[in-house]
Chain length 244, copies 2
């Protein structure tokens, strides 16, 4: 029986986990989204992969030997297990949010998602145009943390604000007076970051508390995942140190 | 006249800046290290590139049209200017240090160097085995920040400690009791991080103040640049907010 395998596209209802560890992560977190798993003929069935296959079969998820899947989905090789999962679009809930305006790099977005999950952020708003969060490169760079978050796209920042008008908005920008360690933290908050190359427009200071993460003049800026990670650390560290 | 162009190797005395912006950065920061610059025949000579070429010529640095350099050094393309620079090995000076034990990923090392320069760290110790800091991938990921730092390799952590016995050593580890925001900061300090996959051996707690950056159980760990960046931010933020 021929399986139809499509290269990843934004408008498909499915995406892929490229790699055994990542596929296992998807299975552990959201087995109901996992439709099938491909195994290449080069895959050695032992250890963790054997365990994964047994668990998949016990859960009724088809495991298929199919080398074509690997030629189409992972032409560079170095990948022996691929999971196919349904995309799930969840609305954001109330509470603290991370907001990315026009993020353009898949690896960066995955790293940010992993860090967000690490600091207990469960809701990520993305303002379009932006990289597709279900792009297999994003899924891979998130190391599966994608499955922990609710992620919702908005056409414009105004649409996001209309939905969550009472969140305290903090816009991370260059050349503004308030440094991160001195900003008063008021919940619920939205931490807002701009595009990798262009940052946030200055107009964001009109409807947000603007914040700067100060650094030397030796660099133009911190990279986006670093700025977002440092901000998430600073905003959540009190909670993290009182929870034990 | 035929130019001999060698693919990058660890034991060569030279390395390369792949890209116009990066080459310009090297020229601005350390013109004395820049030996020559290659321009591909596809390079459009206008704007910033024209300015770069004029400045290079004024400084007596040869600018050569040579497509072979691009086939050898940047086979994937998308690069129209390559600088060749002398590697410079500088000894660390006293003061605060960043210490990386067995870092293995070129992109991560470059990102860490960029962030270190951003937070005013001027000295980076690397314990071997480790990725080569002059690998063009590291140079590129650092966005030129490499040229701001003194970087020295050590065969073992003991050798580093022998040279800087009085630095206060902070080892960033998982599963230790003291969280980053509560650690007493004493200068001069050395912030020490392990390999991407394995972290630091537990024995580091015997000769360092061990520190944890707490996060949820949703992720195994923060990625290495993120952990190092957050630590550098936390250790330097007082200074950054008093300097204006």
């Amino acid at each position: 029986m021929a399986e139809k395998i499509s290269r990843y596209k934004h408008d498909l209802p499915i995406s892929y986990t490229l790699g055994a560890t990542l596929t296992y992560e998807a299975f552990k977190l959201r087995p109901e989204l996992l439709e099938k798993v491909y195994i290449s003929s080069e895959t050695q069935i032992d250890g963790g992969i054997q365990e994964l296959i047994e668990n998949l079969k016990a859960a009724g998820i088809p495991v298929l030997r199919n080398d074509k899947a690997f030629h189409i989905l992972s032409p560079k090789g170095n990948c022996y297990v691929i999971g196919q999962f349904q995309k799930e679009r969840k609305k954001l809930s109330g509470g603290n949010h991370l907001v990315l305006v026009n993020p353009s790099d898949a690896g960066n977005l995955g790293t940010i998602i992993r860090t967000a999950a690490g600091f207990g952020f469960e809701d990520l708003a993305i303002v379009s145009p932006a990289v597709d969060v279900f792009d297999p490169k994003v899924v891979r760079a998130s190391m599966g943390a994608l499955f922990h978050l609710r992620i919702e796209y908005f056409d414009a920042i105004e649409d996001y604000i209309k939905r969550f008008p009472d969140n305290n908005r903090y816009a991370f920008m260059l050349r503004v007076p308030t440094p991160l360690p001195k900003v008063p933290i008021q919940k619920p908050y939205s931490l807002i970051f701009g595009n990798e190359a262009t940052g946030l427009p200055e107009s964001y200071a009109d409807f947000c508390q603007s914040v700067i993460i100060r650094h030397t003049n030796s660099i133009d800026s911190l990279n986006l995942p670093m700025a977002a990670g440092i901000a998430m650390y600073e905003f959540t560290k009190e909670a993290f140190n009182n929870y034990n």
